[in-house]
Symmetry: C2
Subunit: 214 residues, 2 copies
Amino acid sequence: MAETKTTGARRGEATREAIEAAAVDLFAERGYHATSMREIASAAKVQPAAIYHWFDSKEKILTRLQDDFMDRLEAAVEEAVAAEATPPGQLAAAVREHVVFHGLHAREAFVTDSEIRALSTRPRNRLIARRDAYQTMFRQMIEAGVKSGDFTISNPAVASYAILLECTGVALWYDPKGALALDEIAAIHVELVLGSLGAAPKVAGRTGARKERR
Amino acid sequence: MAETKTTGARRGEATREAIEAAAVDLFAERGYHATSMREIASAAKVQPAAIYHWFDSKEKILTRLQDDFMDRLEAAVEEAVAAEATPPGQLAAAVREHVVFHGLHAREAFVTDSEIRALSTRPRNRLIARRDAYQTMFRQMIEAGVKSGDFTISNPAVASYAILLECTGVALWYDPKGALALDEIAAIHVELVLGSLGAAPKVAGRTGARKERR
DNA sequence: AAACTTCATGAACGACCGTTAGGTTATTGA
DNA sequence: TCAATAACCTAACGGTCGTTCATGAAGTTT
């Protein structure tokens, strides 16, 4: 037997996913406050009230998207870093994975980044703390590289800001149908980042393929 | 005689400025859509209806802020570039001025950048075109530097994206009460940018003070 | 087959939104 | 002195917002 009868869908968990997918698209395109629950419902093909069966509130949809994105980003980058031994190799792997991940999940990345201020105090502070911890990871890799003599820059904190900004920004302009493939873009950013840190050219991590150890 | 009597202010052009100042603060803090005309009016110490004596609509307040910012940014950077002769010198000057300007006018910069989507089609396309032209200026300086042999990178277009993202992002984290002065931050960014382009260290434009010719 | 749970519906709630109509007051120019 | 104008007010408009309520069909458990 099928699942539809006289009334609408009855889809179970698939509805939750449809709501999330609709929300991330709309939040990314118009912004959180410019998107109404009715628009999300319409895009997910349910009535507005049905959303409240799956989410407590509009804000909960947003925090779910953001938490999921951070979970997966952290896991992906930490795994990439763990496969490398030297500071330049680790940073190169982190940058490469960060860029690829932001290209593959550009909408989620953009929403996570740009809608922090839409959150109320508690979830906002939580997300800021997570983002700060993530940033600290990069700063420590840079500091390790300075200590080991691989990098020569004056201010690791500012460098970490700058690096994450340029790499995160890939989510703003990357076009899957564009001339450059995502791993090319990632490789260029590794090149730019290592160059900006004064790393000796071609030292560690300036690789093409993935999962490679130099 | 003073200017206040029984009823409220009667301030003339000063009211317009109060409205703009209130709007830029609120737009930067909460976002365009999360800010109501009543909140702007309250912060500017007028009644909501008074805003419409100075602005046609809420959107016109936003476009005014964005246009003003772009006007002043372009003027400042173009002047800084005009004082330099070589590609590395020009790019260094542009980066330095861009960073300083984004630090000094962080709220305006943030609103101009992040609220493009809030605009309706026509003003949005206008602003995007201006931003693209600004970006092109940077890309051409990079290409000139590659051609002259001062820079060694594989992709000037991606480099221009990355550079502008990291420099624009200063508006997101710069704190006037922080440990670093704005011209220090600018100098660090010049260092990072020239490094990422593979410029020979200390070549051209790595200066400290302003209005200096090297 | 009866009771319960899950998933969704249609209709409505009060609050707030951007904007406007129309009146009032202070200042200016003839 | 007096009309004209600029600057601002109070009040309200229609519309949309996030959310809730009451209801009920379908599926599951007992």
